[in-house]
Structure formats: C-alpha cells, structure tokens
C-alpha cells in the first residue's frame, strides 16, 4: 500500500501537482488517468523519489518515504520495478542483458539460473527469442515489453508503469494490461499505472485516480466510472460518440434493462 497526502510540486512558476492525496492499494491495479500534461508522470516520479515533492508525505506500507535517507531509499527501491514512458532501456546492452542486469546486480544466482529467469519473463511478455537483439533493432512496442520484463524480473513489491500500452496496437495493448493485472494479483504487488487508454481503464481499473489541473478530480473503479456524472471525466474517458454509446449500453446492462439478445427491453 502506498499512501500519499497533499503532494505539491511546481516547476518554476508552473504548479503541476496541487495537493493530491490518494491510497494505492496492494494486490490491485491502481490507475492514474488524466489528459496529456495533467501531471501523471510527475506524480509517479514524485512517488518513487525521482522528483522531490515541494510538500506532502508519501508512506510505503507504514514507512515514511519522504523522511528516508538516501541509503534507506536505495534499499526500498530494490523492491520497486518501473517502466518508463520512453522505456529507458540500456542501449549498449542486448535485450537479454537489459533484463538480466538487475539479476546481476542484486542476486548471486548462477548464470544459467539467470538466463532461465530472463527467458521466463520474456515468455510472459510474448517476446521469446529476442534475447540477442539490441534496443535499436526492435519496435517501440517491443521496447515497452522489454521494459516491463526488466521491471518485473526481480518480483518487485511495487510496480510503476508509465503508459505501458501507448503506441501499441489494441490487441497487444490488451495483452500487456492483462499481464500486468495478472502478475499484480499473483504476487500481490502494489501496481501503479499511468494511462489515458480507455480500454485499460475499463478492463483493469481496480482503483482509478482521475487528475485534472493538478488535483484529484474523481476516484473509483471501472464500474463506478459508468455511473459517474462528472462531466470532465465523462468527456475524457468516453471521448467519441461510439464510446458514449458503449457506455450507455453498459449502463443499461447493469441496470438489467437489456435482454439476452442484447436488445433494449421495452
């Protein structure tokens, strides 16, 4: 569980986070959503300490992250996996070495055992056989998946993903979402995902934080979202007419107003 209260962060004159508080729950996929530029990345980077918030408190399972020394943070971070918006793969290393790097650094396993673990996570992200490729030789979507593989290779307690499926086709996108949701449940991780992908929101939104103008505007899960009358949220999630229709249908379904054939009851 990651709990943060009243987080504030500004860059020069620009106030990006204006007192955000929320609880990211363990064993759930916690989503941060909001329009481009609403401060999702900044919030996530504050949570892991890549940015120092100007104000506010962050608590990791009872441990106050804000007050930790550099060394204490280092220890905690060995339990954190993070996927960056731009993947951030080490471009001097092959896919295999990228994923193996945390194992090399923090475990004393034999080489063969490490390779086995690398193959295991590569299989999870559907990238079997890409071991020897360099990041410059693979597509953006593949980089994302390698990034995820690297983030989960040490079975972290906390997983942060910044837009894990932007730039991916809808099918792969779904696959990645499902994978993240699956491992979250399997290893009882606290997972925080930044996204503005409406499919992710509806499919894996256990606990959603909607940000607007640096503030928490709405919170709930993917079921609540259909019934929300927050106009900003509605316009953001169900941006097209098609999605509006889909939402109304779901709403009717939930209210028992649709028969087995998918027709609206008279």
């Amino acid at each position: 569980m990651i709990e943060f209260t009243n987080l504030k962060k500004s860059f020069g004159e620009k106030l990006v986070l204006d007192g955000v508080s929320h609880v990211m729950e363990t064993g759930k996929t916690n989503l941060i959503i909001g329009t481009s530029g609403s401060g999702k990345t900044v919030l996530q980077k504050c949570l892991v300490g890549l940015f120092e918030p100007d104000e506010g408190e962050i608590i990791y399972d009872g441990k106050n992250f804000t007050e930790m020394t550099q060394d204490e943070r280092k220890l905690l971070r060995q339990q954190i996996g993070m996927l960056f918006q731009g993947s951030a793969l080490f471009d001097s290393m092959t896919v295999q070495d990228n994923i193996k790097f945390p194992l090399d650094m923090f475990t004393k396993d034999a080489h063969a055992a490490k390779i086995k673990r690398v193959d295991e996570v590569l299989e999870r992200v559907n990238l079997v056989g890409s071991n020897k490729k360099f990041p410059s030789e693979i597509s953006g979507g593949m980089k994302k998946r390698v990034g995820i593989a690297r983030a989960i290779v040490l079975n972290p307690k906390y997983l942060f993903c910044d837009e894990p499926n932007s730039g991916l086709d809808p099918q792969t996108s779904m696959l990645i979402d499902k994978l993240i949701a699956e491992i979250t449940k399997e290893y009882n991780m606290t997972t925080v995902i930044n996204t503005h992908d409406m499919n992710s929101v509806m499919e894996i939104g256990d606990n959603i934080l909607y940000m607007k103008n640096g503030k928490k505007e709405w919170t709930g899960n993917s079921k609540d979202i259909i019934f929300s009358d927050n106009q900003g949220l509605n316009e953001f999630i169900f941006a097209s007419e098609f999605l509006q229709d889909a939402k109304n249908m779901r709403k009717l379904e939930a209210q028992g107003k649709v028969d087995q054939n998918g027709d609206i009851k008279k």
Partner: protein, 245 residues
C-alpha cells in the same frame, strides 16, 4: 552566483561518488570497460600526434638554432625537454579533452535524457558511483599512461625526423638525450598529467550527468565540457608551472 551553484553541484557530485558498490563484480567490469574505452580508444590519436609533434620540434629547433657555437646535440636536449615538459602532458591532454571529454559527456548525457540514469536509480543503484566513478578512475589511470607513451614516442619522432631530414645523425641525437637530463621534469609532467586527467574526466562527467532537455542539449553540453576543460587545463598548466618550477 550561477557559477557558485554549479561549482557546488560539481563538488556534491564528486562527494556522492563515494558509496559502497552494490555489486563489486559489476563495478569492476564497468571499470575495465571504461579503461578500454578511454585508454585503448584514444591510443591511435595519441600515437599519431606525439610522433608528429616530436618530428616537428626537431625540424623547427634546428631551423631556429643557426649559431655554429652550439653543438647539434643540443637540438636533442631541447626536443626532449619540450616534449616532456609541455608537449606530451599539455598538448596531448588538450586533444584528449576533445576525444575523451566529449565521449564521457555525450554518453552520460544520452543516458540522462533517455531516462537510463533514472532507471538505474530506481533499481536502487547509486549512479554517481556506478557510472561516474569508473570513468574518473579509468581516466586517472590511463591518461598518465598515455602521456608517458607520448613522451617516448615524441622523442622517437624527433630522432626519426632528425636523421630523415639530415639534421643530425641518430648517434648524435642519442648523445644529446643523455646530456643534462633532469628526472624531476618527468615527475613534474606526471603531476600535470594527473591534474589534467582529473580535470577532463570530472568536468565532462559533470556536464554529461546533469544534462536536462533533449538531444540538442547533449551536443551543447559536450561542447561546453570540452571548452571548459581546455580552459581549466591551460589555467592549471600555468599555475603548476609557476608553483613547481
């Protein structure tokens, strides 16, 4: 004000390097990799410029020494002393500031901009220790070695040019080399080499590590690191000469 805050950040970066490695083996591997990159990587250019600078100093010294009262072997002495005192340490390090400095700054800058440094930090790795320290230590070890090599090759180049251009025969050059040799000059040159190696590696690491922005900034800060290192080398060169000679 800006300079002072930059300088403070530079000192803090150096201080932040001293922490216990998370995994000694990987750090050693990175260190050896940097020795190869920095030392072996600049071997070719050092060989080339040192042979030529020795050759040119022989030719030019003989051109300037027209008096019949001075024996030819004095040319060898002059070549030896200028190569050891100034050319090998200072000139070579100015060139290395370009070669090694821009390499260090752009490598770190690229890692910063593409968030690879952040990715390492998130894993719980002290990137100042893992990325910056090996580059500085590798420079401190390999650059003085390159300077010593440049001394030898510079003198050899002078000897070669002396006979090739018919200025003085090899035997006379060798005799000149033995006359009035002051071992302190070599010590002084090594002090310079260590100082310059520290300047090149720390300044370029600083400019690379703290890049912010995009790929344009990487180019800018690598240029800046070369310029600043060169200026610092020249200032240090003068200061060391005034203090130690």
């Amino acid at each position: 004000m800006n300079f002072l805050s930059q300088f403070g950040k530079y000192i803090l970066m150096l201080k932040g390097m001293f922490s216990k490695p998370e995994n000694a083996k990987l750090y050693w591997k990175e260190f050896m990799h940097q020795c190869a990159e920095i030392g072996v990587g600049s071997l070719g250019i050092v060989v080339l410029i040192s042979v030529f600078m020795g050759a040119v100093s022989t030719v030019q010294t003989s051109y300037q020494l027209v008096s019949p009262l001075i024996s030819k072997s004095a040319i060898a002495q002059i070549v030896r002393d200028t190569v050891i005192l100034e050319f090998a340490p200072t000139l070579v390090c100015i060139v290395l500031a370009g070669v090694i400095g821009s390499k260090i700054a752009s490598e770190l800058g690229n890692m910063r901009v593409s968030e690879q440094i952040d990715a390492l930090e998130i894993m719980g790795i002290n990137t100042k220790t893992y990325l910056v320290m090996p580059k500085i230590v590798a420079s401190l070890i390999t650059i003085p070695m390159l300077v010593v090599l440049a001394m030898g090759l510079g003198i050899y180049g002078g000897r070669l040019a002396g006979s090739a251009a018919g200025i003085l025969p090899v035997e006379e050059f060798d005799r000149g080399l033995m006359e009035n040799f002051m071992p302190y000059n070599v010590t002084f040159a090594l002090i310079k080499a260590y100082t310059f190696a520290f300047i090149i590696s720390t300044i370029s690491a600083f400019f690379g590590y703290y890049v912010s922005g995009g790929s344009l900034e990487i180019g800018r800060s690598s240029t800046k690191s070369v310029v600043v290192s060169c200026v610092m080398i020249l200032l240090a060169d003068y200061a060391l000469a005034a203090l130690l000679l």
